[in-house]
Symmetry: C2
Subunit: 217 residues, 2 copies
């Protein structure tokens, strides 16, 4: 795998990689060490040709007549996703959603290390989640001046999300994982990945109605 | 808008509709009643031609030289998304994430009415969120026999998600909003919308690494 090849991969392919990674992990857990693109296709739901095409973007791991070495492919995709590295995270907005993310220890196992939680609620001050103390939002600016943060999780209400982001020292921030139902304005240097739950729910309501209309035809 | 036109819209267009809906709502809140595709493009970040093309899928709402009537477009997109109707929701798995969804009252305002919460934790029994009582997971089967549920939210751990889904009376379920990091096996009649947070986080780590490689060139 060469670095040059990484940069020109379409987002559609990239978004499928974590799914390959998850299925390969499950295969390893079941002690399956070798799989054909056809078998992988049955499992994961993409066509075999889609799978071959996707994996070819990164140099191609399969061998004609043998299929894929599950462990090798799992490790390589992990590396492509950057899961061989570690990332420092902070969470801003520690309501139910922020706390759900803070408590999800699987992220820690994948190399995402939570180092601080910020919230405006004075009742949280002095409390901890997994030994990580809640800090007041007023400490945020100084904290990002003093610490490099790979990923800032925004799980504040929509109304304050932008003002919180504006307090970050962006030179010390890699990317933002944004759960607030708004599009943040940030410097182009910062990578933003949005999880807009509203949009997902409204897509579901669309699909429910589409199906109903289809069934009435 | 005729029903026939709805069924053949690509998922890519459909997934953009909630975003149009959100921006149009914000325009209405700012008392902006008319907007050109060019102005909407600046705001929302899609190209003007993309916007015209998307909205043409549903019959086209704009008028040459006038632009779009914001309120009309907002209402029409709301109808297309099915937001003029109401939906009964239940949440299965009331940990932090399930409770975050239960507490997010904006869904209620958009017509998504939470009617029950199920969890295995005996400590939750007898408690309520917004007057909705927690029920034991053992009551789930009977509840879905007796009530039609438009949307079942799955926010259980991965390991139990499928077994919980298998308890549902699928004749009485419209769709599933799945937050468990696994792909559920369900009848084709059921619409499933996944929110795989892991996949989103791993996409972010990919993008952080891609940017780092780019900056080293």
């Amino acid at each position: 795998m060469n670095n040059k090849s990484i940069a020109n991969i379409s987002m559609a392919v990239i978004r499928r990689l974590p799914k390959y990674h998850r299925y390969l992990k499950e295969l390893l857990e079941k002690e399956v060490y070798r799989i054909s693109s056809k078998e992988l296709s049955k499992l994961i739901g993409f066509t075999a040709s889609q799978i071959r095409q996707d994996l070819n973007c990164f140099g191609g791991f399969g061998q004609q007549g043998y299929g894929y070495n599950v462990e090798e492919l799992y490790n390589e995709i992990g590396k492509i996703l950057g899961l061989d590295k570690t990332y420092k995270l902070i969470i801003i907005g520690a309501g139910n959603l922020g706390q759900a993310i803070a408590n999800y220890t699987n992220y820690e196992r994948s190399g995402f290390e939570l180092i601080a939680l910020f919230d405006i609620n004075p009742k949280l001050q002095g409390l901890k989640i997994r030994d990580i103390p809640f800090r007041d939002i007023d400490e945020l600016e100084q904290f990002t001046n003093e610490n490099y943060i790979d990923i800032v999780v925004i799980s504040t209400p929509k109304e304050v999300a932008q003002s919180v982001v504006d307090k970050l020292n962006i030179k010390n921030v890699g990317g933002i994982w944004n759960f607030a139902p708004t599009d943040l304005k940030v410097s182009d240097e910062i990578v933003v990945e949005n999880v807009h739950l509203n949009e997902s729910l409204f897509t579901l309501s669309y699909l429910l109605n589409e199906r109903e209309l289809e069934s009435k035809k």
